[in-house]
Amino acid sequence: MTSAEMYREHILDLYKNPHNYGELKNATHKFSEFNPLCGDEITIQLIINNNKIEDIKFTGKGCAISIASASLLTDEVKGKTIEQVKNLSSENIIKMLNIPLSSVRIKCALLSLDTLKIAIEK
C-alpha cells in the first residue's frame, strides 16, 4: 500500500493531537512496553475501580500509527470492564484505525493493546 492510504487525515490528526496523552494522577495500574519493530515505546496508566476502567492515559515516543492507535484505544476502553478489555483483539484495533497496514506496521498498531492487557493484570 502507499503511504497516502496509511497516513489519512484522521491518523495524522490523532498523531499530532492524541487523546488521553499525559500523566495520570493516582493511577492504580501502570505498565511500559517496547515495540519489537524498534523505536516505539509506550507507558499506559489506569485508574481501575470495581473492575472498570475509570480513567486511562498514555505517554511515550512512537510513530504515527502507534500513537493514533493508542489514542483510539484509550478512548474506546474508558468505562469498560476488565473482561471487555481482555476480549479486545488485533482485529478490533485494525478496524478502529481503518487503514491498510503491512505486517510490519501492525506491530506498531498493536503496541498499545498489548501493553494495556499486561497493565490490567498488574
Partner: protein, 406 residues
C-alpha cells in the same frame, strides 16, 4: 556534471542483478547486495563441485577442500592476515560470542574490566555484559563527544592496567564515525589489554591491514562485503588465537576421541566444529575477489563522493537533525531525523519511492538513549548507488514533511 566516479558507478551497477528491480537500496549497512558472480559461484559449486570437505579421498571432496582453503587464503589476504589466522563463523555476532565464551583463561587475575564505547552494536556489547555478569567484571564505556566522535581523553582515562579487554568498533553503524582504533590499540597494548576490533562496518568501506592495526582480534561478516549470509570472519593473531579453547564441540575439531575424552587440533579449524557453510565460504571469497578487482581505493573514493553529496543535500533540508561527524571523519553511513516525524513514518513514506532505509535503534539501544531519541533514520550507501538516487531521497524526505506539516 557527470564525474569519473559517476561513470564508474554506472559500470558497477551492471554487476548487481537486484538493481533491475529499480530499487533504491540505501540499507547496505544492514546487508549489502550480491554481484552476479557471487550468486553464480554458489550455484556453480552446488551444481558441479559440491562435496563435504576434510578427509575425503575421492576427487570431488579433495577439490571442495582445495576451494575452501583457497577461500580462507583470499579472505586472509584481504585484511593482511595469514590463512591460519582466519576462523569461519556463522556471522560477526557469533565471532564475538566465540571470544566471550573462550577468552577468560587468557586474562590475568588482576584484570577485571572491559572497555567498550558508547557507540557499540549490541553484538559487541551483550556478549560482554553476560561475560561481566558471569565473571564479576566491570564494563566501562568510552564517551562520545558532541561531534559524534570518541573522546580520546576519556579513553586514556578508562583504559588502565585493570583493563582485560578493549573491544571497539572501527566504524559506527549508526554515526558512520571512523574511530582512531590504531591509537586506541596502542593505549590498550601499553596496559597489556587484549584488543578486539569490530570491523563489520569498516571492512566494506575501508582498506584494513590487521598487522598495521596490531589488534589481537578482528571481526566482520561476509554478507556486508557483497558476500552471502552465513559466513562471519574472526581474525586472531596466531599466537593468541591458538591459545583459545574450542567454543563449539563435535566433529571436525579433534585429534583423537575415546569414550571419555577428546584432544583437539590447532586453530583455526579448532573453532570450526561440524560441517561448515562450504559453498558460502567459497562465494564469500568470490565477493572479496570482486572488491579486490574494484580496488578498495576506488571503493573509498566512490563512497566518499556519495557521502559528500548526500551530506550537502541533507543539510539543505529544513528541520533535519543529522547524527554524523562530517565527511572527513565518516564512512557513507548517515543517520538523521526529521523534526516531529517518527523514523518509522519516514521509512514508510520513502518506501513509496522504492527507497529502502532502516529506521529504529539499529541494535544500539544505549546509543539511542544517549542521543535522546527513540530511533533514527539511516541511509548507508554502496559502490552501486548514485547521486540521482540521493536526489530522489531528498524529494521523498520533503514529501514526508509535507504529509506531516502542522
Amino acid at each position: 556534471m557527470t564525474t569519473n566516479t559517476d561513470i564508474k558507478i554506472q559500470e558497477i551497477r551492471k554487476d548487481f542483478p537486484i538493481l533491475k528491480t529499480e530499487v533504491i537500496y540505501f540499507d547496505n549497512a544492514a546487508t549489502s547486495q550480491r554481484p552476479q558472480i557471487v550468486i553464480d559461484k554458489l550455484k556453480e559449486f552446488m551444481e558441479n563441485e559440491n562435496a563435504n570437505i576434510n578427509r575425503g579421498v575421492y576427487t570431488l571432496s579433495e577439490k571442495a577442500m582445495i576451494r575452501f582453503n583457497e577461500s580462507r587464503k583470499v579472505i586472509a589476504e584481504f585484511i593482511g592476515a595469514e590463512e591460519k589466522e582466519i576462523v569461519f563463523t556463522k556471522n560477526a555476532t557469533e565471532a564475538f560470542n566465540l571470544l566471550a565464551y573462550t577468552i577468560k583463561d587468557l586474562i590475568s587475575k588482576e584484570k577485571d574490566e572491559i572497555v567498550l564505547s558508547e557507540m557499540e552494536h549490541h553484538s559487541n556489547l551483550i556478549p560482554w555484559q553476560e561475560f561481566a555478569k558471569k565473571h564479576s567484571f566491570k564494563l566501562k564505556f568510552i564517551k562520545i563527544n558532541s561531534n559524534y566522535e570518541l573522546d580520546l581523553d576519556d579513553a586514556k582515562e578508562k583504559i588502565t592496567n585493570k583493563t582485560a579487554i578493549l573491544s571497539i568498533t572501527q566504524v559506527s553503524n549508526v554515526l558512520g564515525t571512523i574511530n582512531p582504533v590504531k591509537e586506541l590499540i596502542k593505549i590498550a597494548k601499553d596496559n597489556k589489554a587484549i584488543t578486539i576490533i569490530d570491523a563489520a562496518q569498516s571492512a566494506p568501506n575501508i582498506k584494513i591491514n590487521v598487522k598495521d592495526l596490531n589488534c589481537d582480534f578482528l571481526v566482520f561478516s561476509s554478507h556486508k562485503v557483497l558476500g552471502p549470509t552465513g559466513i562471519g570472519i574472526l581474525y586472531g593473531k596466531y599466537e593468541i588465537l591458538n591459545k583459545l579453547p574450542p567454543f563449539n564441540f563435535g566433529g571436525g575439531i579433534i585429534k583423537n576421541v575415546t569414550w571419555e575424552n577428546s584432544t583437539y587440533i590447532d586453530a583455526p579449524e579448532r573453532f570450526e566444529a561440524g560441517t561448515q557453510n562450504v559453498a558460502e565460504a567459497i562465494a564469500s571469497a568470490e565477493a572479496i575477489k570482486y572488491l579486490n578487482k574494484l580496488r578498495m581505493e576506488n571503493v573509498e573514493e566512490i563512497e566518499k563522493e556519495l557521502l559528500t553529496y548526500a551530506l550537502e543535500k541533507l543539510k539543505e533540508i529544513k528541520d533535519i537533525q543529522i547524527y554524523n561527524p562530517g565527511k572527513d571523519k565518516s564512512v557513507d553511513i548517515i543517520s538523521f531525523n526529521l523534526k516531529d516525524i517518527h523514523c518509522h513514518d519516514v521509512a514508510s513514506i520513502l518506501n513509496d519511492y522504492n527507497i529502502c532505509i532502516r529506521a529504529g535503534h539499529h541494535c544500539c539501544m544505549p546509543l539511542m538513549s544517549k542521543l535522546n531519541v527513540a530511533g533514527v533514520c539511516r541511509v548507508s550507501f554502496s559502490v552501486f548507488n548514485t547521486k540521482q538516487e540521493i536526489d530522489k531521497l531528498i524529494e521523498a524526505l520533503q514529501k514526508c514533511q509535507e504529509v506531516f506539516k502542522q
